[in-house]
């Protein structure tokens, strides 16, 4: 097993297009898979030496979060946490303090677990990811990446170099909630991300809700526009959100929860995350 440290995105894409090449960012999933012999790479491509892949930047265009930035560093970024509190709270839930020191957004997305905490929050926030490849760079919405557990739309030689988030409009807010059986160190039974914007008179201008751990991939809820857009949120609309969330559920049944339980919780978390996002929007 070889180890290479490409210094540019094109060099990395070339290295990753070799047979048996695996990208290494924080390693918190890859090293476990190496140890359990779930994967046997011929070459490990450490992508952390590529420019901008470990940086957080704000410009007029919006936020850039390098795909290999450790979660701990993102959590410590005050102005990003102010703009996107839901995204930051989601990624802060991944693993322990030690895991936070290494784990990355690019890794959480490409590991493609149905229960990944950062993915619903990123989808709700309307985040896109910049994908580097041998021929060209492309940008995709986060919801276009995972197609099944452990499976992504990334082609040979492709890897995620960073994520883009807009600067939120005035009166915007986002939130992420997850349920786990314990208070720490477990994976989501259900996760719910909500992002919304309000007009000056308190009507909802935009809303996105994404759920995790309730289907083989994260689910971006559709049909929210008719319920919410141009209206002030009321109990009836929130009840419809709960029904939409429950209907989107095609969960597995395992030791963490039954199908009925996960379905019920999806509605509860969507409702509560909506409440938090709304409160934040009123104060942003």
């Amino acid at each position: 097993m070889e180890y290479v440290t490409p210094k540019s995105a094109s060099e990395a894409s070339q290295a990753l297009s070799q047979e048996g090449a695996f990208a290494l960012a924080g390693g918190t999933d890859l090293l476990v898979k190496l140890k359990t012999r779930f994967v046997s790479p011929s070459v490990i491509v450490d992508i952390k030496h590529i420019p901008n892949i470990m940086t957080i930047k704000q410009s007029a265009e919006g936020w850039w979060i390098g795909a290999a930035t450790p979660c701990a560093e993102i959590v410590e970024h005050d102005s990003l946490s102010k703009d996107w509190p839901g995204v930051v709270e989601a990624l802060s839930l991944i693993g322990s303090t030690q895991i936070q020191g290494r784990a990355t957004l690019g890794g959480n997305l490409c590991n493609a677990s149905p229960a990944a905490d950062s993915i619903p929050a990123l989808i709700a926030a309307g985040a896109t990811c910049v994908i580097s490849g041998q021929v060209k760079e492309r940008e995709e919405p986060v919801e276009k990446i995972v197609t099944a557990p452990g499976v992504t739309t990334l082609g040979k030689g492709e890897f995620i170099i960073g994520f883009k988030l807009p600067i939120p409009k005035n009166r915007s807010g986002d939130a992420y909630l997850r349920l786990i059986p314990r208070s720490e160190m477990d994976i989501a039974v259900v996760g719910a991300g909500v992002s919304l914007s309000l007009s000056e008179d308190g009507k909802i201008e935009a809303i996105r809700v994404a759920l995790g751990a309730i289907a083989p991939t994260q689910v971006l809820l559709s049909g929210l526009e008719d319920i919410f857009i141009g209206k002030e949120p009321n109990d009836d609309a929130i009840q419809k959100l709960v029904s939409l969330a429950e209907k989107a559920c095609k969960p597995i049944k395992d030791k963490r929860g039954t199908i009925e339980y996960r379905t019920k919780i999806a509605g509860v978390l969507a409702k509560r995350a909506f409440g938090i996002a709304l409160k934040r929007a009123n104060n942003y």
Binding site: L24, L31, I99
Partner: protein, 158 residues
């Protein structure tokens, strides 16, 4: 099998070693450099017994490849005491019997030092969440949490 030359700074000393790609930082510390204070519990990042500082970040040494640490600074439990004197955190763990078998202790101590560097006055809840990735099967955690809170208070008043 090709080996990679790695130069790193561990507890203030420069170390150079040859490393196979599959070797973790924990393998290198324990088997190549005889720094056996960091323990292997689970080897999959769940237990925290191998906690070390890597460029001032708390990480599990079992989830870092040895080849990755070229040019990095590492602090292990071996660097915690100065000369013959124990660090205040270590002494407090002894005084309050915050350890029994001792396997988790190096990791807990390294993680505690990292917490108190970042937050000099943590609440009990903050201590428990920070140390959630350090599993201890002996103490039931209560004595560990008490020791951390007490030594934090001592260090604030020092």
């Amino acid at each position: 099998m090709s080996k990679t030359q790695v130069a790193t700074c561990i507890n203030g000393d420069t170390h150079e070693f040859l490393c196979e790609t599959h070797q973790t930082l924990l393998d290198v510390l324990r088997h190549e450099l005889d720094l056996t204070g960091s323990k292997e519990g689970c080897a999959t990042g769940d237990c925290g017994a191998c906690s070390v500082m890597l460029d001032d970040r708390l990480v599990c040494a079992c989830l870092v490849l040895g080849v990755e640490v070229d040019g990095k600074e590492i602090e292990t439990i071996e660097g915690m005491s100065s000369g013959s004197g124990l660090h205040a955190i270590q002494q407090k763990f002894i005084d309050l019997a915050a350890l029994q078998c001792g396997i988790c202790t190096p990791g807990v101590l390294v993680a505690t030092k990292a917490l108190l560097t970042k937050n000099k006055n943590p609440s009990e809840k903050e201590v428990r969440f920070w140390l959630a990735g350090n599993l201890c099967r002996c103490t039931g955690y209560d004595k560990i949490v008490r020791a951390v809170l007490e030594v934090a208070a001592d260090m604030r008043n020092a």
